[in-house]
Amino acid sequence: MLAYILRRILQSVIVMLVVALVAFSLFRFVGDPVSTLVGQEVTIAERETLRDQLGLNDPFPMQFASFIARAAQADFGISYRLQQPVMELILARLPATLELALVSGLFAFFFGVTLGVYTALNRRGWTSSAIMTVSLIGVSLPTFLIGVLLIWVFAVELQWLPSFGRGEVVDLGWWRTGLLTPSGRASLVLPAITLGLYQLTLIMRLVRAEMLEVLRADYIKFARARGLSNRAVHFSHALKNTMVPVITITGLQLGSIIAFSIITETVFQWPGVGALFINSVRTVDVPVMAAYLMLIALIFVVINLIVDLLYFAIDPRLRIDRSAVRH
């Protein structure tokens, strides 16, 4: 087990390095930072000195090495656009994104599992068919459209919920939370639903499929043959076995939820890293872009590890079925 974890950690490091390379190559490909930094009247000579200062004239490997070195210390320099330390910007916005991702993740997980189990247990019922069909609408409309429509209905027409931002926030140390104030919680509803809908559908179908599979298994038949009550069979035996792959995949989803928050945050002006990223893309604020990529990769890698450990926890066979990571 230890060996396994070590191997995974090693892999994670490799993954991070690859991502770092991609992130770093952004600096080379996406425009010339200097021209975005300084105005027209700055002379060629001045530009050159700036280049040197920014180390843009060093050979690629050297630059990459120093990039890694600084990245390791969470130092991504100063945002071209906002002129603040990138890491500070990201940390300031991370809580918003994490809260959004977490809430919508839980939303998706809770309803996903419930509906999934329901549709699996009475899969011939017309309600199940209805649920399955309706749920597809969630994945058949682009997220941003769903978001805009939700705003239109619930913020503009009904005026029940806020249309943008986080509402009142409370600072717990460096963590700025919106969960403690009513307006903060209200502001969370629409974005969370928008972001969670897709994952909900995904989880629900996954749970349903897994459950149907499990219900066909011998040990379920045997459990019935032992005269166990349906409750015991369904919710103790079947569900537990269902959850093994489900948790793996849901965990991995969390990573993509955070990435997909880019869209949701744009639509709802949610002050998170996603919005920060897309603004940076628009204004070619490379340091922020690079840092964001690294962050996403890190989060994903960490989640991946946790999920694997979780897998150890629930599955006594300690059989890590990588192919269970169908994504």
């Binding site: 490909f29 996406v30 068919s129 682009p142 997220t143």
Partner: protein, 330 residues
């Protein structure tokens, strides 16, 4: 989605007799056999599959035949009459022209725009899926068949791939492409960049499924035998193993198509989609949503409806297919 009535026939239980494939149709009437086949049967008997099949087919046909069906060519800027902009459906415009679904801000006939837009969306969708499929299947086969370090490497790459959710990857590829492609070509390249971006972010699923199946198949006697008599691996893979994984691959592909179409829409919302002069469904929706509050509902409603109909029907088909083939995949 409602499961075809028979889909839980004893075929699922080892103990029960096997009803499937019992028709001893003579070779000549393959058509009849196809009609009788379980797949066709479950399609015939599943209303959802039928409806969505028809809808999808109609949209695809309409898209393909757009040049002949559309009242106007929304790409030819010569045909655009700006003064007809924002004309409501079935209302005479300032110049007295009437448009079935109205016009958008450029005086573009919404119906035509949708037809041509669906064309682009489908083109992007299919190409992206095809790209992902070919890439995924090839790598999957190789990984599964060769095994060893090749497998290890490819699967690590797959892991890294998963680190980058499709949207992010696409944005990245765009960022890089924008840096490398000279401005003049950006617009023309955009669609291909889009295809590569979406395709790249999708190949892993295929690879995983195919790899798994390959690993199982390659140890089956017939493959071993083929090996022994020195049949070329490529031939073994394509002739013997590939057919066995086509089912799952098809399902992923169908659902992947829907995903690709949505992804295209999302990306154009983020401003990295196809150029505004050749709008896809996504571009139309992105454009339309800015008129949500200004009263020109049709500019958003109709393209959105079209996208929903297309994606939903394709999704439902995929679902049905998944159940009909009942493959072991999510």
């Amino acid at each position: 989605m409602p499961r075809p009535g028979h889909s839980d026939a004893p075929s699922d239980q080892a103990t029960a007799p096997q009803p499937s494939g019992t028709t001893q149709a003579r070779p000549q009437d393959t058509l009849r056999r196809a009609w009788d086949s379980d797949l066709a049967y479950s399609f015939r008997t599943s209303p959802v599959a039928l409806v969505s099949g028809v809808v999808a087919l109609l949209i695809i046909l309409a898209a393909v035949l757009a040049p002949w069906l559309a009242p106007q060519n929304p790409y030819s800027t010569r045909d655009l009459i700006l003064m007809d902009g924002f004309t409501a459906p079935m209302q005479p415009s300032l110049l007295g022209n009437v448009y079935l679904l109205g016009t958008d801000d450029q005086g573009r006939d919404v119906l035509s725009a949708i037809l041509y837009g669906a064309r682009i969306s489908l083109f992007v969708g299919f190409s992206a899926v095809l790209f992902a499929m070919v890439l995924g299947i090839t790598l999957g086969l190789v990984a599964g068949y060769r095994g060893g370090w090749v497998d290890g490497l490819l699967m690590r790459i797959a892991d890294v791939q998963l680190t980058f959710p499709s949207i992010l990857l696409a944005l990245l590829i765009f960022g890089i492409a924008r840096g490398m492609i000279p401005p003049a070509y950006r617009e023309t390249m955009a669609i291909w960049v889009l295809i590569v971006a979406i395709g790249l972010s999708d190949w892993v699923q295929y690879a995983r499924v195919v790899r798994g199946a390959t690993m199982v198949e390659k140890n089956k006697e017939y493959v071993q035998a083929a090996r022994v008599i020195g049949v070329h691996p490529a031939r073994i893979l394509t002739r013997h193993i590939l057919p066995n994984v086509m089912g799952p691959v098809l399902v992923i592909g169908t659902i992947g198509l829907a995903l690709a179409i949505i992804a295209e829409a999302t990306l154009s919302f983020l401003g990295v989609g196809v150029p505004p002069t050749t709008p896809s469904l996504g571009t139309l929706i992105r454009n339309g949503q800015s008129y949500l509050f200004s009263g020109e509902w049709w500019i958003l409603a109709f393209p959105a409806a079209a996208l929903l109909a297309l994606a939903l029907s394709v999704n439902l088909l995929g679902d049905w297919l998944r159940d009909a083939l009942n493959p072991r995949l999510r």
